[in-house]
Every structure is written in structure tokens, then in C-alpha cells.
Amino acid sequence: MTTRDLALSALFAAIIIVLGLVPPIPLGFIPVPITLQSMGVMLAGCIIGAKRGALAYAIFVLLVAAGLPVLSGGRGGLAILMGPTGGYILGWIVAAFVTGFIAERLVREGQNEWRQLGGFFAASVIGGIVVLYAIGMPWVTASAGTPFYAVASGSLVFVPGDLLKAAITALAARAVLAGYPLLHRA
């Protein structure tokens, strides 16, 4: 871990906190505004890569556990980690890592724009949706006893919104890659 890795991770964790403090932003083409913090896992992986993205989320989850109200809506504290959806919060660290791991391999500087967008989108979907749900849903079943098929079918409601967030992440990550590339730089 270089000092640069630590600083990038720490400031990215601070961005994630800020995205939870500000009001949800409307997209323009759908009536529901989105909470930017919920895109944080995909953004972290796609912008600063696997290792630093996971570290940013480790810092963020640590602050949740330490009792700072850093989650959107001013939530925080050990009670949330102990609740039935605690698996999603711990899963963020793994999800950010997987998103970054895939993005680092699929996206190259100098590729054409569409391949970069496709790579970021695929990384966000696999890391930020598939992996995250693969950790969060069994956790709910194991802890709250709700049958897995009920949890899984209930979670389907969130998938369209998540896909939209993956698309926005891809666009934002490409803009950052063009303006200040960090994904592959040590």
C-alpha cells in the first residue's frame, strides 16, 4: 500500500459519505430521484480499481461500525450491521473489489469509447449487482429465516434501478478515465 493508495481510498470514502449527505438527484427521464450513494460500490471499483476501491469501502464500513451516521438518511452504528441486511453492507467491500478487478481487465486506455462503456457496465453489473446480491440475499435467509426464493423474488424489484445505476456509473467512470485516469495507475 503506497501513501497514494491510502489517500485515494480515504478521499473516495469521503466522496461516498458526501453522496449520502446530499439530497437524491432526479435523472430527468424518470420521475424518481436517485440516491447517489447507492452507486458508490460501482463507482469505486470502476474509478480507482479493485484494491483501492475495496479499501475505500473498508474505511466506509468501518465508520458505519464505529457509529458515524454516514449512510444515506443519516444512518449508522452497529445495529445496522447486526440487522438482517447487514450482509449487503459487508458485501460492499467484496463487490467493490470484484467490480474493480473486472474493470481493470476489460477496460484499457485508448480503447474506443463504446468498448470502455461496455466494460465498465459489465464490471458494475457483475460486481455491484450479481456479487452483492449473492452475498446479501443468503445472509438475509440465514439470519432472518425468510426462504431464499422469497428473498430473491422480492429483490427482483430493485434490479431495473440497479441496471440504470450501472449505466450511469459506466458513463461517469468513462468521463473520469478520459479526464484523470487512475484505474490502472499504481
Binding site: 451516521p69 438482517p84 432472518a144
Partner: protein
Amino acid sequence: MLSSLYVVGQGPLHRLSAGSKLAVLAIVGVGLFFIQSPWILAFAFALAVIVYLTVGLSLREALKRIRLTLYSLLFLMVLNLFFLPIAEVQVLALRFLALVFAAAAVTATTTLDAMMDVVNRLMRPLGRLGLIRQGDAGLTVGLCLRFVPEILARYHALVEAHKARGLKVRPLTLLGPLVILTLKQADDVAAAIDARGLRAARTTPRSSQSNERQIRS
């Protein structure tokens, strides 16, 4: 802006060390999953409620802090009623309620500094393996919290810039500049930390031994 959920107080839970509170919470968290008796779980729940409500919070504030967790719990338990016998749902609900209240009590009685001490202690084996350096956990958390107000100010400046140009605030036009400006700053911060030698020197297992030898001789 980011005030911790800690409440000032002098109760028995305040005086316990952070490490022992977290250890007890972890043990209770695991232990309760092996208990099937609704009576023992109800007792644990009642105990946790009493402990949480006596840490010095008003009832309203106390419930407000765990409201969202309680809602998600309520939702899952109502859902459970369709799939599981009532007795089992009762056990599951009591177990979670006990845990949530106990965890909220630990959060309300432990300062951020005390939590960070525990984290630094838990990280020590990683430091000995040479994976991180001593004090890295405190440094990164400190950096993160230090920059939250600045990034929030930057966010508001970007919103103002949108307004000044008659643009609507949209996630894409906001995230790009916010992230790029902040990460450029992160590079400056890293350079400044290295230039001033603020990070502890790398400690490897060998060098710490030789230090010990030097001290002894």
C-alpha cells in the same frame, strides 16, 4: 455535520472498555443464534431494551436511530409469517430485536477514538506481516473525515455552477467533476504526507527484532 452517535454519559456501559463491549456483542451475536427458547430470547431482548434505553438518550431519539433497521425487520417478519410457523417467527424476531438494541447500546456508549483504538489493535498482526504500517488505519480514517466538509463544499459549488449556467443538476454532470477534482487533491495530499514523513516507517518482522535487541543492549 457528522456528529458521532455517541452520547456523553457515565453509566456502567460507558465505563466498560470498547474492546470488551465489542467482544461481548460478538459473543452474544453468535450465541443467540444457537438459542431456540423464546423465553431466554425474550429475556435477552428485555435486557437489551433496558440497557439501550438507559444510556442517556431520549426515547424518541433512541427509536429514531434504529427505526429503519426495525422497519426492515418488521417487513421480513411479516413476510416470514407466510412461510414459517408462528413460533419460529417469534424466535427469529426476538433474537434480532435483542441484537439490534444491544448493538445500538454499544454504539451510543463508545467514542470514535475508542473504536479506532480497537481497530488499530486488531490491525497489529497485519502490520507485523508488513502488509500495512503502524497507524495506517488511523491515518486513512482521519484523512477521510477531514475531507468530508471540503468535498461537501465542492459539491455545493458545483450545484451553484449548474444554476449559474441555467442547467439542471444531473448525476452525470456532477459526478465527473466532483470525482476528478477530489482525486487530484488526493494526489497532492499523498505527496504532502510523504514529503513530511508523516507515515510511520515500514516495520518488518526483522527490523522490529533488531530494534528490540538494540533496546536491550
